[in-house]
Amino acid sequence: AANNKRKNQNRNKSSSHQESSRMPSVGDYNASEQKQACKKHELYVSFRDLGWQDWIIAPEGYAAFYCDGECSFPLNAHMNATNHAIVQTLVHLMFPDHVPKPCCAPTKLNAISVLYFDDSSNVILKKYRNMVVRSCGCH
């Protein structure tokens, strides 16, 4: 953003507004990104609400998180969430076209087992690995 602003300055000498030369302060950055604050929502899929309780024996339904916004989260003992988010954000500001912002993605996925009847009233127990999002973080 600083580079772009400097180019703009060179281009239109006349405009010498104080704001345009000001580096975006952390306050501005946070303010402008505030709408993107990290959010993890829980989506509960109920097989009963779907009207399927006559053939799905278990579970009643399953809860999965989904994530949006920009998160930071501990990567390891040294590079913790905050350091990572600061480093990643600064480098993004310097090279916005090449380095992404820290953002949110599923990082822990759990299996879910489903027990259900098939058309012939046989009973099937199936395990689906990596089915349910359990936590979010930077990718």
């Binding site: 604050a37 990290c38 959010k39 993890k40 929502h41 829980e42 509960y44 899929v45 609400d49 779907l50 399927w52 006559d54 053939w55 024996i57 278990a58 579970p59 998180f65 998160c71 930071s72 989260f73 759990n110 299996a111 087992s113 489903v114 027990l115 259900y116 009847f117 098939d118 058309d119 012939s120 009233s121 046989n122 009973v123 099937i124 127990l125 199936k126 395990k127 689906y128 089915m131 936590s135 979010c136 973080g137």
Partner: protein, 286 residues
């Protein structure tokens, strides 16, 4: 900041959202449509309780350390079939564990495949129990032999699943009092060829000795046969079960205390197979 956002409002799904999620789940389950079990004339399955126990064990296993669901096989001598770490269920499991303590799994004929310690459950991607399809119960053969037949349709197995283990399970109550506490030999055969006016050609799969007073589930290994039936469905002519006294006299299966398809639903015989996905099912891009 990884908290669950309290502002997320819970509300009922609208119709199109409901259909969208139903379509999504069916595509994950690999089903073309939602199943319609128990259509008129279809008998209820005989294994929900057993499968519900497995489901609970599998779910617990996901929450805690590996679950030890191992079937210690019968090579010879007194190895036992024991389920360790397996929640005793209201029906046959607890009796089954007692049974395995009381009756060593000795086999007169070398077993087809020696069952070995394996963690069926946590390795399995899928477990499936099959309804017995035999409609009429024949009891007596041309050569005056008592037996019961069982048929299972293995063509319903979802694509890409390979059988890693298969068991035939039948519940035994106390035998008829006239057998006192005799030893009863229970054998399971694969039907190789059927004839209209003479006994079928059979292949011995497994057999067990039991006391007339024994009560609980009997588990017979039919892994090799099940794999054979999956590959050659036309060879699937079913199984024959028969019971004999110690001196080789054929006895009526029911009087031996073995529960058939007319028994209480929680004790009806069934087959259960454990599968490992042999290919990754890619879902259609949506």
């Amino acid at each position: 900041d990884n908290h669950v956002h309290s502002s997320f409002i819970y509300r009922r799904l609208r119709n199109h959202e409901r259909r969208e999620i139903q379509r999504e789940i069916l595509s994950i389950l690999g089903l073309p449509h939602r199943p319609r079990p128990f259509a008129p004339g279809k008998q209820a399955s005989s294994a929900p309780l057993f499968m519900l126990d497995l489901y609970n064990a599998m779910t617990n296993e996901e929450d805690s350390e590996e679950l030890e669901y191992s079937l210690k096989g019968s090579i010879a001598g007194d190895s036992r079939g024991i389920r360790k770490g397996y929640p005793a269920s209201p029906n046959g499991y607890s009796q089954r564990i007692q049974l395995s303590r009381m009756t060593p799994l000795t086999t007169q004929n070398p077993p087809l495949a020696s069952l070995h310690d394996t963690n069926f459950l946590s390795d399995a991607d899928m477990v499936m129990s099959f309804v017995n399809l035999v409609e009429r119960d024949k009891d007596f053969s041309h050569q005056r032999r008592h037996y019961k037949e069982f048929r299972f349709d293995l063509t319903q197995i979802p694509r890409g699943e390979a059988v890693t283990a298969a068991e035939f399970r039948i519940y035994k109550d106390r035998s008829n009092s006239r057998f006192g506490n005799e030893t009863i030999q229970i054998s399971i055969y694969q039907i190789i060829k059927d004839y209209p006016n003479r006994d079928a050609d059979l292949f011995l799969l497994d057999s067990r000795k039991a006391q007339a007073s024994d009560v609980g589930w009997f588990v017979f290994d039919i892994t090799a046969t099940s794999n054979h039936w999956v590959i050659n469905p036309h060879n699937n002519l079913g199984l024959q079960l028969c019971a004999e006294t110690g001196d080789g006299r054929s006895i009526n299966v029911k009087s031996a205390g073995l529960i058939g398809r007319h028994g209480p639903q929680s004790k009806q015989p069934f087959m259960v197979a454990f599968f490992k996905a042999s290919e990754v099912l890619f879902r259609s891009v949506r």
